[in-house]
Each structure stands twice: as structure tokens, then as C-alpha cells.
Symmetry: D2
Subunit: 339 residues, 4 copies
């Protein structure tokens, strides 16, 4: 932590800050600059956030952290990329890319099974589908809930695909964990800490989506919540951030892929559907994501987007998905990966 003193701060103020740093268990180290002094506080990193309050002391201009606040998610603790088992025979983070595909929400048996078969045939390795849907409007379709989970179970038995589905309420974690192979945390819940803690106690991998206004640092701190509870199987998903641009639903932060790869050992997945909001933009974003070095994709596919109860405009039709997968296979190869 670097404490920057104000220009003209008095010697007494400097001494008071040094004293307080020592009281908090750190060692102050002063650099006398040409126009002002700065103090480095040396010591155990874990609890350094308490030093932030020094900003209220007289003569202090500001307090700047110099280290990343996460530990278990960092490359420094775990230098090699983690390979995480998602379900029997399906791992992420290694050579093989994982494509999770399916409808935004489970609407009924026919829709789900038809779509599941189509994505399986095209090469998807995980089936996605929402049973509990966090919707902006209380009047919109909220998901089939447990009935939806049962349909996902049926689709798994029909196709052999493991399933990923969202959980939005801590109360439902156990219920969803009974059905799902992978537990998804949606963008709106990226800082729902009670939910994250509970997921950290489960024996199922977690797909954690970045929030619309979550910095990469905060995103990794949310992963840290799960890791710190003991669950080391966390997969990160970039799904677009909120910006001023309205041509797309959100702005896909593609450079988050190499940034995350530098900072964390956790696998990174891209959602090209929610980030763009338009099916016509999805294929090229799939290609870009794989070229950028991601470990997997989360793609919305619907057998009849015109009648979808949510997110139809961003869903690929089965034939479009299959064509995308074909081209993706070749991009994956250049990226040194397999599909």
C-alpha cells in the first residue's frame, strides 16, 4: 500500500501516519520526493484493506493499493492453468474446448429435446438451459423452475450431455445441485455473496458470469469467494459489459480473455449471445473468442427463435449453430485447441 501525503503536509502529520501504520501491524517506509512524501506500508498483504482508512488522516492525499487483492484465484498462487472436470469425461481448461449450447430458457419438452439433440449433433459438449430465470420485469416468464430441471434431466438422459443451469436463490442451491452438473451464477448475481459462499460449499463446478459493470478485479474477487469456501472448480464467463454503445445489447470485452489468462489460472468462457444480443453477430464472436484464447463458449440455440419466450433475437437456429461449429473447428486448430 502506498500512502501519498499532500504537498505541504507537516512533519507532525507524517509522524502521525507512520505511527498509525505501525499500530495496524505494518512497517512504514518513507520516500521524500521533490514536492511531497510518499510512504510504503510493508507487511502481510491479506489485511491491507484496513490501511485505506488512513485517507481520512490529516495531511494524507490518497492511498493506492499496489497488489491485487485476490489470492487463490491468482497465478501467483497457482502458476499453471487449472483443468477442471465439469462432468464425467468433460473437462475445461485443457486442449479440448468446451461448447455449452442450448436455449435461454427451458420452455417445454419438445423445444428442449429437439434443441438438445441438435446441439449434440453439431458437437456441443454441454447442454445449457434456464429453469430459474432472473427477468428484468416481474410480468415476464420466470422459468419452469423444478419442472424445468426435470426436463433438463430428461434431455441429459436422451443425449448424454451434462447440463449447466442457473441458480438465483441460495434457498434453491441444493435443489438445483441435485439436477445440474454445473451450477451457473448469472451476471446479476456476481456479487450475491451469500449465494457465492453457498456454492463454495458444493461439490459441483460453478460457471460464474461477470456482471455488467464488474471490473476484472472484482470478478476475480467474486471467484475468490467460492474458492475460499473450498470449491476449487470455478469457470469464469465473460458475457459483455455495459457501455454507451447501443448497437449491441452489451459490449463483449474480448480482451478480458488474455487479461484473465495472465492474472488467473481459472478457465475462461465467452458468451457471444448475451453480449451481442443479435444472432447474426454470434458466429463471428465465437471465432474471435477462440482465436483470443478462451477455453469454451456458452451459446444460445433455439429450435424456433420466433416463438421463444425470451431472448429469441439472439438465439441461433440449429442449422446456423452447426455451420458455426464447422468453421470454429478450424479456428480452434490454429489456436492449438480441439473442438
Amino acid at each position: 500500500m502506498i500512502i501519498v501525503m499532500k504537498q505541504g503536509a507537516t512533519r507532525e502529520q507524517l509522524l502521525a501516519v507512520k505511527k498509525r501504520i505501525r499500530e495496524l501491524g505494518y512497517k512504514p517506509h518513507v520516500i521524500h520526493g521533490t514536492t511531497r512524501d510518499v510512504i510504503g506500508a510493508v507487511g502481510d498483504e491479506r489485511g491491507k484493506a484496513v490501511l485505506q482508512a488512513l485517507e481520512s488522516m490529516e495531511g494524507v492525499d490518497n492511498v493506492m493499493p499496489i497488489l491485487q487483492p485476490y489470492k487463490l484465484a491468482s497465478r501467483e498462487v497457482c502458476p499453471e492453468p487449472s483443468v477442471i472436470e465439469l462432468a464425467s469425461g468433460v473437462s475445461i481448461g485443457g486442449e479440448r474446448l468446451v461448447v455449452m449450447a442450448g436455449p435461454c430458457s427451458v420452455e417445454g419438452e419438445e423445444q428442449l429435446i429437439a434443441t438438445a439433440r441438435a446441439v449434440k449433433a453439431a458437437g456441443a459438449t454441454v447442454l445449457r438451459g434456464g429453469a430459474f430465470k432472473p427477468r428484468t420485469s416481474p410480468y415476464a416468464f420466470q422459468g419452469l423452475e423444478e419442472e424445468g430441471l426435470k426436463l433438463l434431466d430428461l434431455a441429459r438422459r436422451e443425449t448424454g450431455l451434462p447440463i449447466v443451469t442457473e441458480v438465483v436463490n441460495p434457498r434453491d442451491v441444493e435443489l438445483v445441485a441435485r439436477y445440474a452438473d454445473i451450477l451457473q451464477v448469472g451476471a446479476r448475481n456476481v456479487q450475491n455473496f451469500p449465494l457465492l459462499k453457498l456454492l463454495g460449499q458444493q461439490d459441483k463446478p460453478v460457471l460464474l458470469k461477470r456482471g455488467m459493470a464488474t471490473t476484472i478485479k472484482e470478478f476475480l474477487m467474486s471467484a475468490e469467494y467460492i474458492l475460499a469456501e473450498g470449491n476449487r472448480r470455478v469457470v469464469l464467463c465473460e458475457r459483455g459489459i455495459r457501455t454507451f454503445e447501443t448497437a449491441t445489447r452489451n459490449t463483449l470485452d474480448i480482451s478480458a480473455v488474455p487479461v484473465l489468462k495472465e492474472q488467473t489460472h481459472l478457465p475462461v468462457v465467452i458468451d457471444p449471445s448475451h453480449s451481442t444480443g443479435h444472432a447474426s453477430l454470434v458466429p463471428s464472436m465465437c471465432y474471435a473468442a477462440v482465436a483470443a484464447g478462451c477455453d469454451g463458449l456458452l451459446v444460445e440455440v433455439h429450435n424456433s427463435p420466433e416463438t421463444a419466450s425470451c431472448d429469441g433475437p439472439q438465439s441461433l437456429r440449429p442449422a446456423e449453430f452447426a455451420a458455426t461449429m464447422d468453421k470454429l473447428r478450424r479456428f480452434a486448430q490454429v489456436a492449438g485447441r480441439q473442438l
Copy 2:
């Protein structure tokens, strides 16, 4: 809902869209433009979101909603501003402004009681203080939980001030409701829909904070979740949005005050502490907020910011708060309000 056809869309495509509009229960009304056609879909507004899926039909360029999606929160349903009772003798939305003040988090009896007495003496009408703290880092102080609620109860008995405190987990709603006069939803939970629904079933007023990337429309839809469950006592709180600017912790969206006043009958409160992140900026933002027409303020005050376990740099000292209140009284008078 307005459906905009592509330039060059065929007559068959137009007919197919009209047919689908009718199937969904709406009446299509075509305007033939000079370069393309647009279709208005006339009918009951509540379920119009289903029309969005028409964007997947051939020949359709895009689908534009023309109405706001909220009902109970709207001025159209309730043209007069709502006056909401927060506790016996304390109402918000009328002539009298409500100032909620206190520490970011409850840290101990001495800290809380000293601060509570100070804010009471300065003219605050509600005591704020967090017992359950949603923190970015799992290693940061997470709040005293029920012990904190008990201290808040003690402070209420000591000062007579009703208390507002945050609830972060649906599981804790009943517990917090036993102690608190007003239940606060934090920025990170503005779209925690299970929590909102549960709060909609309580007989306590709810202070709903806007999220860092929540549009005003989405903010009102979150209020609608609470209203739709039967709880009509919702107070909205603007607390800064996330932008590119780093000189302040967030950017206080002061124009949200008149925008909300036009669109909703619900009272609007401003949090100048989290929005700016620096105590020195808080007084002028209090004045601006009242001049802009807000119904109340949520201000962080701490008897010793240097030693605060969180958010010290943005907390006013008791004497600063008292001076701010004095000047605020005069601004309130010009704004036609009382403090």
C-alpha cells in the same frame, strides 16, 4: 410496439409478420414509408415483451418498444407523489425531508451509540448502519450480523431514531425485519429478484438502491417487483453509477432525481457518500441533491473515520455533518421543504 421492416422486405414477409402479430393477440397497423414499412402492434401493453421475438422473423429489421414496461411504479397509475410512512411519526415524500445518517457498518456499541447521538443532535431523522455487509473481498470485515442488529436496536432505544439496515440474503429477511424499521436493498442486489419478491411480502418499507449499471427503467422494474407483491412502501435511492471517471468512486447521477420525479410517484433519496467516495465532496452533493428536488438523503457519518473498518474515507465526522445540516436547512427552505 413498433416493428420496423427491412428495406426491400417482401410482401410475403410483411404478411407473415402481420399474421404472427395477430396470433399473439395484437392488432397490426402498417405504415408504408418511402423506403420501408413499419408496423404498429396495438393491444394490451402488459404482455408486449413477447413481440420482441418477432425480430427473428425474416424481413424484420428491429422491434422498438414505445411504452415504459412498469405499471405500479408509474405516474400514469398513480399521478400524485406517494407519501410513505417509514416509522411512527416519520414519513417521506411530503414536505419534510428525511435524512438517514450513521456509520457504514456497525462496529461496536461505543462507535454506534456515539455516532447515533451525534446524528440525532444534528437533526437526522433515521439512523443507518450495516449489520450484514456485502464486501467485494471475502477477506474483508463482513459485519456483526445479528449482534449488529441488536446494537442498532439499542441505539434506537437510546435515541428514538428509527433504523434502516441492509438485508442481503433472502434467508435473513425475517430476522432483519424483526429489528429494522426500514429494509435496505444494496446496489449489488437491485436485481436479486428472489430477495425483492420476499421484501414485497413484508410489512416494512423498503429502501431500494440503484445498481452501478442499472438504467432508470430497470431500476423502476426492480421497484415493480416489490410493488407487485403487495408492498407499496418503496423508496428509491440513487447512489452513483459506474462510469469511466475515477476522480470519484462512482458518478452521482443527479439528473436521476427529476427524471424519476417525472416517471414515478415513489420518493427519491440520494446517497452522496457512496457516489463520491470522499468526505470532502459530500456536503456540496447534499446541497445539490436537495436543490434538485430529492425527498431525502442517506449519509455516512462516523465518530472516527480513521479507524473505520470500512468506507472511512467517505464518512463525515459528527461536526462536519452538523455543519452540513445547518446549511442544508436553508437550501431545503428555498426548495419548499423542511428539514
Copy 3:
């Protein structure tokens, strides 16, 4: 400048960085932390930007500036607020607030004179009006150019109000300076450095608007361009920044007022018209701006907004402006200012 080394950086890398710091004329000062080292580079602040390139050296994690890069605009160089003469008898930065009002663009004699008289009658002290209009579309009205300047001159003679008008092309600086009392730089030209340099050589005050995505630090660096050329009469104008919110045209960054007041001695003006984009929101933002401590306002007023060739929806009618001024007078008084 603080140079943060990577965890595990070698002694040789550290030595190489220290050597390079010395070569660039600074004195390295190492703090050995528990997990990594940081180096403070001590010396003359002016040219420290060259140290940024150290980030390319092996073993370096990142380079963090600790000082603000502006000098002449800073409070450190000039601790007292500057009072700037805008025209004979009209100064800004002192006790008296300056209200600059008038149409977005000069459209014709009748429109301009009628509006000028109305704003004068209501208490405005400067007349605004655009003759050179930077418009997003090449097909939109681009202003009356020199003809517009002549009409502004006429309006000045009719009302006695000094005029502020925009200059967009370095080529036109001399022409505009012949007519205008105050030269305005629009948001789109905040980093048009050739224009800023030229304005720095004029003997007329400059009203510099913040850009839509300009940080406060960059804004002050743009002011520094003008100051460094010798023109010390710079007035800063916050006019809304671009965010995700679409309920307003831009988001008025009201906290920029106290932030600027802490960091610079230059006067600060608020434009409530471009920031909100809707006339109904303008009055409350005028009040908020004055309560927040600004030195003046820039308000669009049009005698017939329905027929305005640009920005009609955000223009006040003369009667609305007069009513706003009346109430503003009382807010100004509480703020310790006069209107």
C-alpha cells in the same frame, strides 16, 4: 512515479530498472516488500511521463503516477480561486454568478434579438449563440457562420450583453475573436490541441467544455494547453458525460464541481441543457449546480423551441427561463453568491 516490480523479479532486473531510472535523471528509491519490491523515482515532476516506458522492461509489473500532471491549472501553483474578467464589467469566479443564456444556434435576426432581450430581462449576464455548429450529421444545419457572428454583434449592441460563441476551426479563430467576447471550445474539440494552442495565444477568455469521455484529469490537461501558451483566462464547463443511461442525453457529472474546485483555481460553469437534453429537467439542474458551488451556468433558451433548427427539446422558453432565474436567485443567496 512508483515502479512496481513483478513477484519473483530477479536482482538483475531490479538493478537494470534502477540504472535506467538514473539515466533518465531520477533517483531510484527501493522499498522491499514482503512479496515484491517497489521503486519510487524521485526528481523533477514535469517530464516524468518518460518513466512510463519502463513498463516494457523485464521484471516490471506496472508503473503508477502519483502526481497530477498539470501545473498551471493546479491549486498547488495558484491556491486561490481565479476571478476572470469575461468582458467589461462581467467577471466570473467571484461572488457574482454568471448566467450565459441564449439559443443553441443563431437562426435569424428576429429569433436572436427576441431571445436576447428575454434572457437579458430575466437576468442573464452573457448571451450565448452558435454561428459555427459542429453537427453529427453533414446534412444538418451547420450554422450561419460569419452572418451569425454579425447577428450576435447586433444583439450585443441591442442588449449590452457580451457574447460567447463557439469556434471549431483553427482557421476561424481570428474571425470569431473579432466578434466574440468569449471564445467557446465545444465538447468535441476538448482535445483539438492545435485549436487549444491557438486560443492560448488570444487575448480573449476561453470557455472550455469537457468532452463526453474526458476524465477530469484530461480536462485539466486541455486547460493546461491554453494556459501554457499564455492565456490565463480559462473557464471550465461540465456539460454531461457519456454513460449507459439513456433517459438523459448525457449524464451531468455534478460532483465534478467540488472535485474541480479542489484541484484547480479556474472557474467552473455547468451546462444543464446539453447534459440532460430535455427542457423539463433543466431548472432543477440549474438549482443543483448552484448549490454544488459552480460559478456560472450555460443555458439554452429559445423563443420558439418547436421550430428550432437544433436542440429544440432541451431549450427553455423565455417564461420558463425567467421563472428559473427567480428561484435560482434564492438558491444563490444560500450558496453565498449573487445572481
Copy 4:
């Protein structure tokens, strides 16, 4: 243009709006909705912006454009992608990708020639290098100006590579056009309309960079300024937009590639250097950009980033650039392009 009336607007208000629409030369077409009326204004699209002022009329809620405001840049006017000749033998927009590489700024003969030879050897087809540098700080290196242009000319003769360089002042357009093959407009000048108009009158291709807060619609309107003056050789460059994320210098809006490809016939180039700000992120963003379907890249390469006078941290070393080009060749092939 769709005019949305307020709920409860009177028949007289509706009639007044219809009358005004007719006066402006459009035909009103009313749709009576269940809760409010909307009016479509049918007629020539070019001048429809004037209808925006109707928002000031009584009874009007808002005015929504339904068409894109650009013409010459649009796919509707020119359905096929444009192939643009940049210099003799070098075209962009066709099968062959164009890689423009070189230092951020021209610093001296040795630096430029060494870098030029290196990028040529690695397969770049255009040399980039700044002679006029728009810098945030007036105290930072501002470029070698004409001396820099002469060095670029020398480098062209040495390597045969055509050169692209920035022009920042309308006054310098002719000077720069005498030396450069391609005239670059920087992000800060994307709405410098006098500069754009002048470039529209040159017989040289223009590389137009998107601004940090420029929407895609505004970006195309800026291109329209150049096109409307007669210069049809415009190349668009996405270089990152400003968001809340600070891990990267800007956020590369990769989905702008397919969005632009749908909306315009103009070629699209990606700048992975300014968007990310860190050399280590550049290679993966080059791959992503090509996979997403861009027509070219603009990459910063410097023979000694540690000593660069600007933007060292984001510059690739020659060997890194060569390795990136090798891998890029294979991604290009999958994308159906050649390098």
C-alpha cells in the same frame, strides 16, 4: 420518424402535431393505441432531423427515429463491400488483409528505418508512424512534424512500404498529403468536422479512427462527412472505447466488426495496441480481430519499447511482431483471407 403522444394528450394537441408535420413536408399517419396514440411521419428521410423539435410541442412524449441517418456509408446505398486502393498495389476490403505496422511516433532515422525494415520483413504492407502527435499533456513530446514526414518518406524509399500518418490540424492537410499515402484521423478528431470536410476534398484515402465515446452510428456519420465531400476512400478503424474497466487502456469493441460489416460497405481495421495498452495483449487481439472478419490491422511496433517517447508499453518488439504475423497467417486462411 415516430412521434409518441402522451397518455391523455388531447385531440387538439394531436391535430396540432399533425398540422406541424405537414408544414415540415411530411405526411402524418396516426395509429390509435390502447393507452396512447403514435404518429408515423412519412416522407423523404434526408431532412427528418427537423422533426425532432416536435418533442417540444404539448402532448408529445417523445420522438423516435427509425432509420439510420447516414446514406453514402450505408449498405443500402452500396450493398457490396468496397475495395479501396490505398497505394499502388495495396488495396483493402478484398481477400488480402492489410497490416499497417510501425512505431507510435517517428523519433529519429535509426529508430524508424530499423522498425520499418523489421515490419516489412515480417509481412506488413503499410508503415505507420506519427509525425504530428496529439498528446494529452502540453509538456509531452509533440512529434517531429515535417521532419518526421521526411523520415517517413525516407523509410518508404528504403522499404517500398506506403505510409499512413496522422493529420491533426486542417492547416496541415496539404502538407501531410504531400508525404503520406494514407491520411489518418485520430480518435480525438473523429468529430473534428472541418478536418473531415477538408479530407473529403483530398485525393488520398483516409483512415478514420473511432473516438473513445463515439457510437457506431456517430462513427458512420463522421465517415459520411468525408464521403459527402467526394472522397470515397474511407477506411474505418476501431481502436477501443472508454469504459469503466481499467485493466486495459480502453475496451476493444470487437463486435463493432460484424456490426459495421452489416451496416456499411467500408473496410474495417482494428487497432489492438491503443485498445489494450499492453504489448502482451496485442497478439491475441490480432487473432481475434481477423477471426471476427476485419479487413486489416494497425499495430504498434518499436525496435526499443523501453526507450520509446510514447506508448512504449503497448508496442511489440520486432521479433514479437514477426511471431504474431506467422500465427496470424493461419487464422487469416481459416477466415478466407490472405495476409
